[in-house]
Symmetry: C2
Subunit: 181 residues, 2 copies
């Protein structure tokens, strides 16, 4: 048996000042510039490369709050130590996981999912602190919010990446991809 | 007489988490990845487009602290309400300016300088808050510092820009240019 290579990938949009939401957790700024017609800015191509998603409770509740049909076709793991149940119609699509970053990843890998979409500020920060983020696709929405919920947080040591691609979209957004350095 | 169009431009490097220096004001992270040989990553081309520089006292003292020959050929205006003198050998190259953002710019424009390189976090933040930043060339050094002095600060309202170019350098840095939207 060939051991699968585990990959943890981020695909996220931020403001120029590095926020993923305003201070109330709202993400209206993402819609400042409409997406180019017929172009999902790499989202489908990205999700084709992942087996499952791992997100925190905040992200999960943000998605629920959109009041749209559940948008993910791949299994979603919600990392929460307080959440005990999910809406009935989602029980087949969502699993709650608990534990340290390593424990959580181990549980997911044991179920056969190797390439993970890591979403949400705190989840990304936790994995990054343990050198567990392999790749980040960061789309910058060119607005300065002035306040909000940051993508990155405090770290005890610098984490190195390396830029591997950079793209300007016709709507004025830029998308940069970084791999762990 | 044709009135010159005033332009205030930023050309700055930041970490992935948006810092221009670590929390002690040190900028060693800028040297994590050596510049591509023979390539100044757009710096000369940028400085060819400006008439003078405006920076705050912190940036000025950081540059002095490098213990290198004064690196600027264009006139430098240091915006400070406390600084009263500059090193003797620099008196022909530096002028101290005081006042509000508008007053400071008026003084500089009156001397015939129209296209300005705006440098330093607080100086950039002050002008941005007054919608006085026209263009920003932001080079991302792909490291997450975890703490430091941020490029952007608090704002009362969102400021819109639009991406106009995006470039990946062979050393893994990315450089994005934004114009005021």
């Amino acid at each position: 048996m060939i051991e699968q290579h585990h990959q943890n990938k981020v695909f996220i949009a931020i403001s120029l000042d590095g926020y993923i939401a305003n201070k109330d957790g709202k993400v209206e700024f993402l819609d400042t510039f409409p997406a180019p017609p017929g172009d999902d800015m790499g989202y489908s191509a990205f999700t084709d490369t992942i087996d499952a998603l791992l997100m925190g409770r905040n992200s999960f509740e943000t998605v629920l709050g959109f009041n749209i049909p559940w948008p993910y076709t791949k299994p979603v793991f919600v990392w929460s130590h307080t959440l005990t149940q999910v809406p009935d119609e989602l029980t087949s699509k969502i699993q709650i996981v608990k534990g340290s970053p390593f424990e959580v990843l181990q549980q997911i890998h044991a179920l056969g999912y190797q390439s993970l979409y890591i979403d949400g500020g705190k989840t990304i920060q936790s994995l990054l602190a343990h050198n567990l983020i392999d790749e980040m696709t960061i789309t910058t929405v060119p607005v300065v919010l002035g306040d909000g919920i940051p993508l990155f947080g405090q770290l005890d040591e610098m984490k190195k990446f390396i830029g591997i691609s950079s793209k300007l979209y016709p709507n004025g957004l830029v998308q940069n991809v970084y791999k762990r350095g």
